[in-house]
């Protein structure tokens, strides 16, 4: 895992027992994870009694470094040993490493999900509903007498959902289902490699 100089410096400060004792270290690590996970920006995340006596600039640097380190670890999918060796290189003591790792393990899944939710992709189909209708007549033509389907695909993109509505005849629906089945078959084949 590569870390930039400023992050390394911030983490070294965090490792320094004269700057962060055990309780303030724990408070800062907790605050870092919390500030990443919370859905609201909280400017007062560092206002804690344990962190009061630490120089605020140093505190902010360490907080930045810790959050960056956490995110980088998730981004690179670093395992426990990689993170431990990385922290040990920055002269973290064993119990500090242990505390960090255990906290990280606790939040890992959620952070992974958070990172995975960033990006863009086409709308996702979530559900489909259908209605079978019988076309009897309309303003222009009488005695049409054809069954047809009204399909509605429920899609979701960036948290907002949209319905795609379209009609299709029985043959067209058969075509559609056939194609989807083809797709499902090839997906299944891909899963058996």
């Amino acid at each position: 895992m590569e870390l930039s100089e400023s992050v390394q410096r911030g983490l070294q400060a965090l490792a320094d027992p004269s700057a962060f004792d055990q309780s303030s270290y724990r408070a800062l690590v907790d605050a870092s994870f919390r500030s990443l996970r919370s859905s609201q920006a909280d400017p007062g995340v560092l206002d804690q009694p344990e962190l009061k006596q630490i120089d605020q600039i140093l505190l902010k640097q360490s907080h930045t470094a810790a959050t960056t380190f956490i995110l980088e670890a998730v981004k690179q999918n670093a395992d426990k040993s990689t993170m431990s060796s990385c922290l040990e290189e920055l002269s973290f003591s064993a119990d500090k490493v242990e505390l960090f790792n255990s906290t990280h393990q606790k939040h890992r899944k959620e952070l992974e999900r958070l990172l995975a939710s960033i990006g863009r992709c086409p709308p996702q189909i979530n559900d489909a509903s259908w209605r079978l209708q019988y076309h009897v007549k309309n303003g222009q033509v009488d005695k049409v007498n054809e069954p047809f389907y009204l399909l509605s695909l429920n899609t979701e993109n960036k948290g907002s959902s949209e319905d795609i509505n379209f009609t299709c005849t029985v043959e067209q629906l058969q075509d559609l289902v056939g194609k989807l089945k083809d797709a499902a078959k090839s997906v299944e084949k891909a899963s058996q490699m």
Partner: protein, 203 residues
Amino acid sequence: MLLVLSDDHKEHLSFLPKVDAAVVGEFGRIALEFLRRGSSPKIYEGAARKLCVPVEMVQHGVEGLMYLMTESSKHMISEVDFLDSVLVLGFGEELNQILLQLYLQHHSQIRSILSQLPSNLPAYHNLEWRLDVQLASRPVRQQVIPMLTMRLLLTGGCGSRDDLSRRVLQTDPSTLLHLITTLEAALAAIKTNHARRIFRNIK
């Protein structure tokens, strides 16, 4: 079922017996052409000059024919009903036969033209798909997310007639399976006794 022709309509069509049967046939051809492609006043002028009659008269004649054809095609009236309806106009036997032939030959085509008129929802045209696996993204460098990417091609819809609209969509394998079961249920619904009974009774 008989067609009820309005007085205006009758008056417009009264021009027809005054001209040759061949001319009526020609009018019928023009009327069908106009139904297919849209009308053009130039042809009226040309015909009016040839026949030495006012342009309005020709126009009324052709348009009357168009209306007659569309109305009878719309209701899909039978041969006998058509003849009975035309009888009101008091045309000769020959002219009635010409009109009947015109109707019988072209009613299915006119129906298909008419069926495009109502405001439709977009209709399914095609579906293209491929299996994608997302392996990394900017914030995450190691992922394996299988995704089925589809392009749904739809025709028509409000305003945009004749051209296809494309929707690119994605779904995950489990939802894909769900979609298939849902749509298969839809296909099965049409074969149920209930649906069959309804279809049979409406016809």
